[in-house]
């Protein structure tokens, strides 16, 4: 029996239509509801991580002032902050949230290909979050081993949470990976197999490309984390020695021998480095669409952008050991991984140039999403450049355990993706709710956040050059660190408290606009991609009414000469002088892909 693609199936193809409150909003199989559930959960758990970071900052800025924070709870805060932010907030919000919401809409599909599996994905994710949160309430508290969970320290007595907390962390990660796999298989299959008529992959918005490649990275990288979590669970509970060498702890010989702690680091970073791009690539994609829409210009070098995403995705699997220059591995590895690390900067830089060139001579509208998107370009260049420093072995060795690294990765994969998240939330909020967010509040929120993060992280680079070590609960009296470093630390803490407080504006805006925002209509920004062309906002279950959309052009026909509007939606037929084919062909002949 020949298989009929989604776009060719007859229109009365049966769609289950939820009626009761429970099937509509709780056990919903609608990708839009699942996306909101994913996003809401991720933001809630992210707030927990934000509070933890404030605890750390209070201790660092004003040591000895807060009895609440002892060394153990400081390390527990460090660990949980890192793990929650990277895995449970950013991964879940970009892929589970925006991936779920945008993929079917941007692909012109009615839903994900397997809606039930998609629903299951969210509930299993929620379970993993609950398991993780439960570790705050067990004896010994959550694990304090650092977010990288390096053995042997993770398992040896003396590390906070070495009995129960770490076990809950490992189980939670395992459950999260199961949830991610169920969702991820859905996202990839939907993009590959369920696109609307005329929607070739080279006409997809870059958001979909970023999310697609990031999901593929996740499907190939999370297995390494799963395996290391399984092995560590056995080391912990059964007394195997996968990662544990013969070791003394607190004057006692532990019952381990012959394991390899470096093996854990390799497995962890084989997951950990692609994870950076699992977070970054969706951000790259989403920000491209926001920039192009609000600059009223086509994205510069679309094909180059797509290939850069793919190249970054591929390269991200061969750079992992640049996190391990100080681990004592073979120096020749350092040479290899430094080289690949510098190579991955090339496609990344291409993307940055293309964003800037997209803005060049654009009809830029400086509304809130655009401000956040441009802010991202700044912070990303900043964080990316320090990445070049740290990619080199000789520079990394002295800087590796200092605040320079903290500043680097917070700029590049903390602040930058979060700015994109804000840009995207402000940009797609009208589609999700049918109402605009308040511009004034949004702009105040932007400037507080953007300038505030610089006030936090720029001085940290300087602290790093001074040699202030990271991961320390308190500096004590250390000769090579001048007194003034403490003053700087206090200032950073004040800035951090200010930025955290500024986020309240965002939440006020979200809830206020839900009722009082200006009704947005279907396409408030004048955007071209399919999700803005639905007949109802927010789109009803099934997204498109009786007929699926048919796509006639790429997603970036902005300001086309000879067309009455300054944008042509993807589903409008006809040739208006400039089309993407022209653009592609010249790019093929003259661009970097020419032979």
């Amino acid at each position: 029996m020949a298989y009929v693609p989604l776009a060719d199936q007859d229109k009365d193809h049966e769609l289950h239509d939820p009626h009761t409150f429970i099937t509509k909003y709780i056990w919903s199989q609608d990708h839009k509801v699942i996306a909101i559930q994913y996003g809401g959960t991720a933001i809630c758990v992210g707030l927990v991580a934000l509070v933890l970071s404030m605890m750390m900052r209070l201790q660092l800025g004003f040591p000895d002032s807060f009895t609440l924070i002892d060394p153990s709870s400081y390390y527990q805060a460090v660990t949980m902050h890192g793990m929650i932010m990277v895995v449970y907030l950013l991964t879940a919000l970009f892929l589970g949230g925006f991936g779920n919401y945008l993929i079917p809409l941007m692909c012109g599909a009615r839903d994900m290909v397997f809606p039930f599996l998609n629903m299951l994905s969210f509930w299993v994710y929620l379970l993993s979050v609950l398991i993780l949160m439960s570790s705050f309430f067990v004896t010994g508290g959550p694990t304090g081993a650092g977010w990288t969970l390096y053995p042997p320290q993770t398992i040896t007595p003396g590390t906070p949470g070495h009995d129960t907390g770490i076990l809950l962390m490992l189980i939670s990660l395992g459950v999260f990976i199961i949830a991610f796999t169920m969702g991820g298989l859905n996202y990839v299959t939907t993009v590959l197999q369920a696109r609307a008529k005329g929607l070739t992959m080279m006409r997809l918005p870059l958001s979909v490309w970023g999310i697609l490649v990031a999901t593929i990275l996740g499907l190939f990288a999370f297995p390494a984390l799963l395996v290391s979590a399984i092995m560590m669970t056995f080391d912990l509970t059964l007394g195997t020695s996968f990662f544990m060498p013969a070791i003394m702890a607190a004057g006692e010989q532990l019952d381990y021998n012959g394991g390899s702690p470096i093996l854990f680091q390799h497995l962890f970073w084989f997951f950990g480095h692609p994870e950076v791009y699992i977070v970054a690539l969706p951000a790259f994609g989403l920000v491209s669409d926001v920039l192009s829409t609000h600059a009223r210009k086509n994205i510069f070098g679309y094909r180059m952008m797509v290939w850069a995403i793919i190249a970054i995705g591929g390269l991200s699997f061969v750079v992992w050991a640049h996190h391990m220059y100080v681990s004592g591995m073979n120096p020749y590895f350092g040479f290899f991984f430094a080289t690949t690390t510098l190579i991955i900067a090339v496609p990344t830089a291409m993307k940055v140039y293309n964003w800037v060139l997209t803005l060049w001579e654009g009809d830029i509208r400086l509304n809130t999403p655009m401000l956040f998107a441009i802010g991202f370009v700044f912070t990303f260049i900043h964080g990316g450049l320090t990445g070049l420093f740290l990619g080199n072995v000789v520079i990394d060795l002295p800087l590796s355990d200092t605040y320079f690294v903290v500043a680097h990765f917070h700029m590049v994969m903390g602040v930058s993706p979060v700015l994109v998240l804000f840009a995207s939330l402000y940009h797609w909020y009208p589609k999700i709710t049918g109402r605009m967010m308040n511009e004034t509040l949004g702009k105040v929120h932007f400037w507080c956040t953007f300038l505030g993060t610089y006030a936090i992280y720029l001085p940290m680079h300087y602290l790093g050059f001074l040699g202030v070590p990271r991961r320390y609960y308190a500096m004590g009296s250390t000769d090579f660190i001048p007194e003034s470093a403490q003053a700087l630390n206090a200032n950073i803490t004040l800035a951090a408290l200010f930025v955290a407080a500024a986020q309240i504006l965002f939440f006020i805006n979200i809830f206020w606009s839900l009722r009082n925002g200006k009704p947005s209509g279907n396409n408030p920004w004048g955007a071209t991609s399919l999700e803005w062309q639905t007949t109802e906002t927010p789109p009803k279950h099934g997204n498109w009414g009786p007929d699926l959309p048919v796509v006639h052009r790429w997603a970036y026909d902005y300001s086309v000469p000879g067309y009455p509007q300054d944008f042509i939606p993807q589903n409008v037929p006809g040739d208006f002088g400039v089309s993407e084919d022209h653009d592609h062909d010249t790019e093929m002949k003259e661009g970097p892909l020419a032979k």
Binding site: M1, Y3, P5, L6, A7, D8, V113, F114, T181, L185, N186, V188, T189, L192, Q193, A194, A196, K197, G198, L199, T200, M201, M202, L219, F220, F222, P223, A224, L226, V227, S228, I230, M231, F234, L238, G239, T240, S241, F242, P245, A246, D255, N257, G258, G259, S260, L263, H266, L267, V550, V551, H552, P573, G574, D575, S579, D581, H584, L593, K595
Partner: protein, 227 residues
């Protein structure tokens, strides 16, 4: 209208642009059902899991300070009063699993021909072979446990031997067990005529999973038992 839709596809291109055009074509990338595409992606992901297990095994085998027990001695079995024959049980298990791949392939063929009875029986035969594989694994586990092999130690040398053995064969055994259940469920639905309208791709999708599990076993056999 359809011309406009296919505008950038109707000029055939050669070389890299042509390849890209084929792969990024209209509507769907592969002309297969969703379930089949998804199963393939899942299997690639699962390959990474087993690869990580095997790489982890090789690493600890290198780092451990104690000698690695000889698989030929550990996995020897005396049958009918003979001297212990090295690897005989594993050889039989491997043979059974590979045979089950054959019956699975036949089931897929009969599925596409619409022969429900034969499809169901061949799938059940596959499941039965898989179940007997798991049964023999249980026998092997209990024999080794009886001889004192534990995840944290064994009488013959490196403690990692037992750790890796139980972890890797256990993880694979879980895959086989899941596959047996999966096959049984699909076979029942085949018999009930559940796929008459939808088509019998599901049999092939189940088959993909089953062949994958067999293929993984070949690698485990080569790297763990023969090395």
């Amino acid at each position: 209208m359809s011309e406009a839709v296919a505008s950038n596809l109707d000029t055939p291109k050669s070389g890299l642009p042509g390849l890209v055009n084929d792969w990024t074509a209209d509507k769907q990338t592969y002309h297969v059902p969703w379930g089949k595409a998804m199963m393939w992606i899942f299997l690639v992901s699962d390959t990474f899991i087993f690869s990580c297990f095997l790489v982890g095994y090789m690493t600890v085998r290198m780092t451990t300070a104690e000698p690695w027990p000889l698989p030929t001695d550990v996995f020897a079995l005396s049958m009918f009063g003979s001297d212990p024959i090295p690897l005989i049980l594993i050889a039989i298990m491997t043979f059974i699993l590979i045979t089950s791949s054959g019956t699975m392939a036949l089931a897929v063929n009969y599925g596409y021909r619409g022969d429900k009875r034969k499809t169901m029986y061949l799938m059940l035969a596959t499941a039965a072979l898989g179940a007997s594989f798991v049964g023999m694994q249980v026998f092997e586990w209990s024999k080794l446990i009886g001889e004192g092999v534990r995840p944290w130690g064994n009488p013959w040398g490196a403690p990692q031997f037992g750790s890796v053995f139980f972890m890797v064969t256990g993880f694979h055994g879980l895959h086989v067990t899941g596959g047996v259940i999966y096959l049984a469920v699909v076979a029942r639905k085949v018999a009930k005529g559940h796929y008459d309208k939808k088509g019998y791709e599901i049999v092939e999708i189940a088959g993909l999973y089953w062949h994958f599990v067999d293929l993984v076993w070949v690698f485990i056999f080569a790297f763990f038992y023969l090395w």
